[in-house]
């Protein structure tokens, strides 16, 4: 899922200060699961903005709403009335959700209330970890299902950097060395020989290259 983190209330206030009627718009999907921008967090943020407004005399009139998914036009419909009524939207969706709302309402100021951080999983209660950088040319098959792009601090593709201590990464001693994990897993599943092959430099043209990436499925187009 997409993992995000709330901006601070003073940051939100600075973003919204020119507006009066503010809608805090939550998203019921990824950001609900990572406890950053779902219904519960929207309620807390809206409440904190009302308090900040009273304390600082900002004159905000804050309303709140959470829809199922902000990155999908069909769901955005559900927020139409609330969006019409407000002067500005503070969206607590991921960056894609924020932009979907902004595209749908070209004349309405739409701001991000979260910092969208990464694609990851819940590692343990209250801890989320990055697992994939959406590089567009997945190489997990070669590394026992452990992504060296995301999980190795140096993105090493042909073995460890040599700096790990015990099983810890030298850059991030709080994290396991990805290559330690890769080696162990390949050994456990009997695929250690995969490491004999030299991996060529990765094809980065599938990522961060030439503007936004698009995927077109002709079979699904109308």
């Amino acid at each position: 899922m997409i993992v995000a983190e709330r901006k601070t209330i003073p940051e939100m206030v600075a973003i919204l200060k020119e507006h009066k009627k503010v809608l805090v718009l939550g998203c019921g999907t990824c950001v609900t699961v990572c406890l950053a921008g779902g219904e519960r967090e929207v309620s807390i943020i809206a409440s904190a903005l009302r308090i900040a407004s009273r304390v600082q005399g900002l004159g905000f009139e804050v309303s709140e709403l959470t829809i199922e998914r902000q990155c999908d036009n069909i769901f955005i419909e559900q927020a139409a009335e609330a969006i019409e009524k407000c002067d500005a939207v503070l969206s607590t969706a991921c960056g894609a959700g924020v932009q979907a709302i902004a595209e749908r309402y070209p004349l309405k100021p739409v701001y991000a209330g979260l910092n969208t951080a990464f694609l990851g999983i819940l590692e343990e209660r209250g801890v989320w970890t990055e697992k994939c950088a959406a590089c567009g040319d997945c190489v997990l098959d070669k590394y026992g299902g452990i992504c060296p792009i995301t999980r190795c601090a140096k993105h090493m593709l042909n073995g460890p950097c040599g700096g790990s201590r015990e099983d810890r990464c030298e850059v991030r001693p709080d994290r396991a060395c990805a290559w330690q994990l890769i080696y162990k897993r390949l050994k456990d599943i009997g695929e250690l020989d995969k490491l004999n092959a030299i991996t060529e430099p990765k094809n980065w043209s599938a990522s961060l290259n030439g503007g936004p990436r698009t995927i077109i499925r002709e079979d699904h187009r109308i």
């Binding site: 904190a48 009302r50 900040a52 304390v55």
Partner: protein, 145 residues
Amino acid sequence: MENYEPKIIAFCCHYCAYSAADLAGSSRLQYPPNVRIVRTPCTGRLEIDYYMRAFENGIDGVLVAGCEEGSCHFKDGNLLAKRRVNSIRTVLAEAGIEAERLRMVNVSAAMARPLVEYIKEMVETVRKLGPVKIKEPVNKTSTGV
């Protein structure tokens, strides 16, 4: 300011602090009348919203009184409450309300005297801070659209 009497809510757990408050009453222990006690089945029941809405609607301080750590009737409700209180103190501070206005304490049902002391401390802390400094009038809490 001299006549300022803070308004404080004390959320008291049914299994400890509420009984302690009851005991304080039957033992004739005085505590300041600024505090309104709200009984909760467990401090773990207190959603973050309860604290936020209280401050949003003009309360000066909130005291949360739960069982001693390790003695929660529902195992770990008081520990959940402690984490929530700590995280909400951060949000309140960001919004411009002093974190000291929200405090959690732990008492057993027999600890009437300590509870009374905690309540007095809370009233004094808030009295020193003074009323929440407000630049615009309290609006009715707007919910939904």
